[in-house]
Symmetry: C2
Subunit: 162 residues, 2 copies
Amino acid sequence: MASPPVPPNGKPRAGNLDRGMLTALLGYGLRRAQSAVFADFASTFAKAGEALTPGEFGLLVLVERNKGLSQMALARALAIDRSTLVPILNRLQARGLLMRHASPTDGRTHALALTPEGEKALARFTRLVKAHEKRIAAGLSAAETRMLIELLDKVRAGAGSL
Amino acid sequence: MASPPVPPNGKPRAGNLDRGMLTALLGYGLRRAQSAVFADFASTFAKAGEALTPGEFGLLVLVERNKGLSQMALARALAIDRSTLVPILNRLQARGLLMRHASPTDGRTHALALTPEGEKALARFTRLVKAHEKRIAAGLSAAETRMLIELLDKVRAGAGSL
DNA sequence: TATTGTTATACTCTATAACTATA
DNA sequence: TATAGTTATAGAGTATAACAATA
């Protein structure tokens, strides 16, 4: 006995819509959760007067943990095209967070690294991300959070092997 | 004892990078899972000779289940701006899947509905989505899939309440 | 005055193709 | 020949601001 999706008299209120099969879809739940999490990430950084996207954070961590990384290797790790990476690196470099060094062994590649300012900024960003994570996992027990991360990894592994 | 992230001699292979704290982050796991799921969705539709994004599928389902919906109500349900919705509807209408009817009660609004072709197409799309869902949940038991959807909903509810 | 839909505009993410330098 | 990085270009998704029609 579902309530009438659109009352004959007026307009349906937001959040009152019939979503049909969508609520049972893993992909749909994933999309909606990610959208909410993205919004919380953005709001966390905006409130702190910082500007960063989740993708930029991931990129900075990868560069910090894998110093000397080439752009190709980074693009592969991020699963994006090498041409897509160029403007992203340009922006982070313009902000003084990241440098392209010349590789001593291969004239074609750039060795990526954080600047000292980038290291300092990443430390600040990491604190914000931890607060953000705490907030989005607030409705879950520690065991549930662990389980969720594990299940997400299984999904990725399964869907990844096309 | 982690293996060295970047061997001193050469370039790190893809997938062999040190991801540091990222692997413990819920937001990161969510992003990666969603990316893999999106790729499987796209590949499923491409192989079937159909062109549709997950967002378009969700939109079509909402319109089908809530006939006469206005653009404002739909935009709210999708959590996007009303101006963002316009070119998306234009495209679906140009494909003959959807119509904007005049509202009999409010001259400002459009009453959205699927065309007969849209209904037929949605039935095809739904079959493809079900096959896609089966594939991305292949590594999970039925109980795990249920639990995952439930946990994702908890995350969304928690992060949604900013 | 407020709401709905549209347009103009801009920014980001994404990709493909072609170019340059290097291997 | 093949690879790395860049540029040019294009398409989709997102937003804000301003406008016309309607309430």
